[in-house]
């Protein structure tokens, strides 16, 4: 029970918000806007899953937003060259994995601090993209949006894909040795090494995986719109870190689960539509999200104080 205190409290908070909305603004629960909301968050969920993995390994990746933009533009260009979707998906994932591998090499190989490495790659990728594209949008072939299906079917497809990624990763983290290795490395890399694990390899692969997932997320994004914005993904890193932290993953590594992250992301995503339905100005969204992050971390702090060091 106490081991899952954080996950339970996030789910409880989410339930409270939803129940509150059910009374105050029943309009929130119309299926179509709700589906659209979830679809918009689908790419973020995929990236957040990867971010959770990296943070469990006691690293952080703030370059995901830039990776997202680079992969998005690449995918868009390939699509406009007429590549079929079946080849776009592996291409986007591969592009993301390569970008992730750059971070992984610098962090795991040279043992540089991940926050600075990914700060540097974030700036580098973002500016290189701007240099190359000069802010130009990429027009996508018309039949690409929603895979040429109806919007509703397309949305369901995207949401299902994102949920599948979440479930597979969550099960892997809990029930595969590789998943447990992430926790071990995050809890204490030196002890993990002494236990015969290879912390550097685990770290490297975590960065590759978050890159690959970011690549996959761009596909989920590209399929939703007629164009690719080269500025897409700005702020994605902080949004996903916020979801991960609210979801109860410890920034000190080795603790947390993807179910919590899922609930955390939903909680943060609810803020904006909830405000609209409650007729509060939408400009309060960020402030309220900030408060949620502070509350989550406060809960952690109070709990830590209670159980003692």
């Amino acid at each position: 029970m106490s081991r899952h205190f954080r996950e339970i409290s996030v789910v409880a908070a989410l339930a409270l918000v939803l129940i509150g909305l059910a009374f105050a603004a029943p309009g929130f629960f119309q299926p179509q806007p709700l589906l659209s909301l979830v679809t918009r968050e689908a790419p973020t969920l995929v990236v957040a899953s990867g971010m959770a993995l990296v943070i469990i390994c006691r690293q952080i990746d703030i370059s995901v937003g830039s990776q997202f933009a680079v992969c998005g533009v690449l995918t868009g260009l390939l699509a406009s060259l007429g590549w079929p979707v079946a080849t776009l998906v592996p291409a986007a994932i591969a592009a993301g994995a390569v970008l992730g591998a750059v971070n992984g090499t610098l962090v795991a190989g040279l043992q540089l601090p991940s926050i600075v490495v990914t700060l540097a790659t974030m700036v580098t990728w973002r500016e290189a993209l701007r240099w190359w594209r000069q802010g130009e949008f990429v027009d996508l072939p018309v039949k690409l949006q929603w895979l040429g299906l109806s919007q509703r079917t397309g949305q369901w497809l995207l949401v299902a894909t994102a949920l599948m990624v979440l479930v597979v990763l969550a099960l892997g983290l809990r029930h595969l040795a590789a998943g447990r290795h992430c926790y071990a490395v995050g809890a204490d890399a030196e002890a993990a090494r002494l236990a015969g694990l290879r912390p550097r390899r685990v770290t490297f692969l975590a960065f590759v995986l978050v890159g690959a997932l970011t690549g996959l997320a761009t596909i989920l994004n590209v399929l939703q719109s007629p164009q690719v914005d080269p500025k897409s993904g700005t702020g994605l890193e902080l949004k996903t870190i916020a979801a991960v932290v609210v979801g109860g993953v410890s920034i000190a590594g080795g603790r947390g689960s993807l179910w919590g992250v899922f609930a955390g992301l939903l909680l943060l995503a609810c803020v904006s539509p909830a405000l609209t339905h409650l007729r509060v100005e939408a400009y309060w969204e960020k402030a309220i999200q900030g408060l949620i992050i502070l509350l989550a971390v406060l809960a952690d702090g109070v709990r830590m104080r209670k159980t003692g060091p």
Partner: protein
Amino acid sequence: MSQTPSQSGSSKGALRHEWVLLMVVALEWLYFNSVGPRFGTLENSFDILRHSVEIGLLALVMTPIIISGGIDLSLGSLLGLCAVVFGKLWRDGGFSPAAAATCTLALGAVAGGLNASLITWLRLPPLIVTLGTYSLFRGLAEAITHGADTFTNFPDAFLALGQERFLGVPTQAHLFILVAGVMWLLLHRTTLGRTVRAIGFSPEGARHAGLPVGRRLASVYVLAGLIAALAAIIYTARLGQARADAGTGYELFAITAVVLGGTSIFGGIGTLHGTLLGIAAIAILNNGLVHARLPREAAGVLTGALLLLALSGTVIPQLWNARRARRRRHPAPASPSSPP
């Protein structure tokens, strides 16, 4: 050994780093001077100065924070909030610019105090606390302006702070030099700096030595908030307008400058002159590329690359230290003792 007592445990490595960085800055200057005819003019130098003061101020106050082992992601957002509050007070509140500025500075200190109290009293991780306030401060700025309101038409006397010269140099340069000087003294010549360094190396060690850990740590974050407010006022004066998106991303530029300047993200190691050189390297690059008729974006790419290079160069000895520190849990590698 040496005549001048060392500042920190690893000052030798840090010193070497700063010389290398100085050479990078000098090379940048020489190169851009040779390719851009207007680059070396006094007017352009002032231009560089004007454009780097705000991020520079944030970098100055970010330095002791990172040396203490912390980080402050909220400074860019706080700059935005302060700029908006300043504009609001002046336009809608009927305050004079001076009175509005005073209130804004107070707000900055209070906002820094919010970070400080969460980090020191409740011992929450700075990265997450300031991630929360990053969102909170920006959100408040947007809420105040309803996302779109822009404050303009400030009086000329106020705009002079950001656009005119005083004693031959841009007005804000005086403030920057003053802040830089005070920060240098604080960090390198007072017990505050010494304590912050000790905290960066080992917070528990510092506590066991009877150092006022919480108070010193808090003062560093409050100071950062105060200076972020000052940067907001200068920003508003330079651009002649205050908007909710002011200073977006500035925290990351500031951190880049600090780390480029040789400050260790692990805490403990770092100097203020290193940060100044880091600011200079980035500012000159940004400005020089325009004069060299190269795309501006190249500056970002080069800054990123420079940061990675600087890291690879400095992190190796630090890594060694960090590893030793990690080995504390396990028996230390033995070194032969001198014969009895």
